[in-house]
Amino acid sequence: MSGVVEEAPAPEDDVVLELEGLVVEFPAAGGRTVHAVSGIDLQVRRGETLGLVGESGCGKSTTGRAIMQLPRPTGGAVRFAGRDLASLSPAQVRELRPKLQMIFQDPISSLNPRRRITDIVGDPLAVWGRGDERERVVPEVLEAVGLDPAQVGDRRPHQFSGGQCQRVSIARALVLEPDVLICDEPVSALDVSVQAQILNLLEDMKARYGLTLVFIAHDLGVVRNISDRVAVMYLGRICEVGETRALFDTPAHPYTRLLVSSIPSIDAAHVAAPADRAAGEMPSPVDPPSGCRFRTRCPLASERCAAEVPALREVAPGRRVACHHPLVEPAAAGPGTREVA
């Protein structure tokens, strides 16, 4: 195949978004707590696409929303453009919102069925007192996402297919010209044939608007294709972060390996033998296992995994793994252990 768009990775220090020790908890029935996200460190560099993968319920969306401060995280810092959003007042956060946008998993649900497309896309402008620009900007953005403004402007979401709706959501997110766009499973509700359209569109928009993307998905094929770097999440924690292809080709965390081996491949040879797959399912975030959260399903689990929370440490340049028994040799110059509670 051809048409690969190779991009130079952005320099390390140009971090636009940084999560440090991000914790999100929800009250659950019976006075218990859902530990949806338990201490996440992540850096997103300007212009890159960071993929965030993991099973359903592992806290991907929660992380995305926490970045948006919807709701505000329970603990930790979210630094955007050098400012810790968590420490800002609601009004100050609101000021920053135009630069930080999000698109959602369900294209239908993310558009108000009772409003017209131009209203939906133009509303952010109206909110920010730029209502008079709507005439000009909205058609432009609609055009950009591949919709004919003249044709679609007066229609309502239910008159569109899922793919078109997702385009509208993208247009709405782009209309404020954000720096960072968080995509929460933007294609998982779409048909294969439409999925490709949207993925291509996102790549185009990224190039055109100079976006930084955080791309959340559970479909590894999709993430693999669109991301520069990937972070793998399991039960509210990051297991592994690394450059996409390296991570997929040589998973360092047992969970990453499990994920990768589960991908149904178009190439028959890729199917892993069933025996390779760890059994069982993700435990409840209300009562997560001690130590390494993956240990209940991990074929390599040892006593240490139950006792000690593995730190996210560098095993290779740009590759960090939270595992006591990583599947690759740790790099000599690891940054030491840092406990993430």
Partner: protein, 360 residues
């Protein structure tokens, strides 16, 4: 795989049509589908959302029957009996016992207010003359078979206390409870995570092999069935557009839609940031299906003929590989059509043909 079709297929579907009369018009959901599934064989039915897979499986089972708003025709034969002509009461003798169904969404396919045990023993008791205690122990066995730990405890639990994967195992156990000879699995893993999806597909494959059960595996994801089916039927807008043994289909798809479907999926090997091949437009509106080949408005190779004439299901060399296309991929006619459309920058239907549609 170990496909061993006997002379008479276990399931023979001939020219099945299903039309729904809606206020907006008639939805021709299944449009002349013919299929055979032999005992012990796995036939995968693949196609995008709305292509009629579900309606087809339900028609096969008899769950969709002619009524005021629904019109059906064609025949369904199961092991020699023409089940398409049975009444609801007669059909229920087949249901569960001969033909069983597993649905896509394990979250909704179990009754939320009944215990797992009750739901499982119910179907055992319905089909077999056993005592309640026996049924319960049979149920526990079944749960163990589908890989659930602590089956006795599970029997007393309610669906919401189980995870999605566990629930899907329960529905599989229910489907298998009366030892059916044909299992219709309607997108059994769509709602599940990758890791669990793989587990469930493994489980189904294993059970199917073990019981030499025929299986109709419905999915929207071609890749999912790559290693798990003997044959594949690709559906588009209510029609089977291509059918072939699995390996052959992947090796040489004839129908441009099949080809497009395969290449629209992001690859999991090779470089990232690959420009994906897109299928332009959107799935056809079944209320008003396009004339000619139904894929023609979206097909990058469409010629004038495609817009007017509906291609018949044709053999591609063998009986087993059949397709519907005037310009089958790889043929000289195709190469010509492709060149012509690339040149004029649009297909005969007026769809712009861009680079990314004909990347390969």
């Amino acid at each position: 795989m170990n496909a061993a079709p006997t002379d008479r297929p276990l399931l023979a579907v001939e020219d099945v049509h299903v039309r729904f009369h809606t206020p907006q018009g008639v939805v021709h959901a299944v449009d002349g589908v013919s299929l055979q599934v032999g005992a012990g064989e796995v036939l995968a039915v693949v196609g995008e959302s709305g292509s009629g897979k579900t309606v087809l499986t339900r028609r096969v089972m008899g769950l969709v029957a002619g009524s005021r708003g629904t019109e059906v025709s064609g025949t369904v034969d199961f092991d020699g009996s023409r089940i398409s002509e049975l009444s609801g009461r007669e059909l229920s003798a087949f249901w569960g016992a001969e033909i069983a169904l597993v649905l896509q969404d394990p979250m909704t396919s179990l009754n939320p207010v009944k215990r797992i045990g009750a739901q499982l023993t119910e179907s055992i008791l319905l089909h077999e003359k056993v005592s309640k205690a026996d049924a319960t122990s049979r149920a526990a066995d079944l749960l163990r078979r589908v890989g659930l730990s602590e089956p006795e405890r599970r029997l007393r639990q309610y669906p919401h206390e189980l995870s999605g994967g566990m629930r899907q195992r329960v529905t599989i156990a229910i489907a298998l409870s009366a030892g059916p000879r044909l299992l219709l699995a309607d997108e059994p893993t769509t709602a599940l995570d990758v890791t669990v999806q793989a587990q469930i597909l493994d489980l189904l494959a294993e059970l199917q092999r073990e019981r030499r059960m025929a299986m109709l595996l419905v999915t929207h994801d071609l890749r999912v069935v790559r290693s798990r089916s003997d044959r594949i039927a690709v559906m588009y807008a209510g029609k089977v557009v291509e059918t072939a043994p699995t390996a052959e289909l992947f090796a040489s798809p004839m129908m441009p839609y099949t080809e497009a479907l395969m290449s629209a999926v992001p690859p999991v090997a090779g470089p990232n940031h690959v420009r994906l091949q897109v299928i332009p437009g959107r799935p056809p509106n079944l209320l008003d299906p396009p004339a000619g080949c139904r894929f023609s408005p979206r097909c990058p190779y469409a010629q004038d003929r495609c817009l007017t004439e509906d291609p018949p299901l044709r053999d591609a060399g063998s009986e087993k590989h059949r397709y519907r296309c005037w310009f089958p991929v790889g043929s000289p006619a195709w190469a010509e059509a492709r060149a012509r459309n690339a040149e004029r920058g649009a297909s005969a239907a007026g769809t712009p043909v861009t680079e990314e549609m004909v990347l390969s």
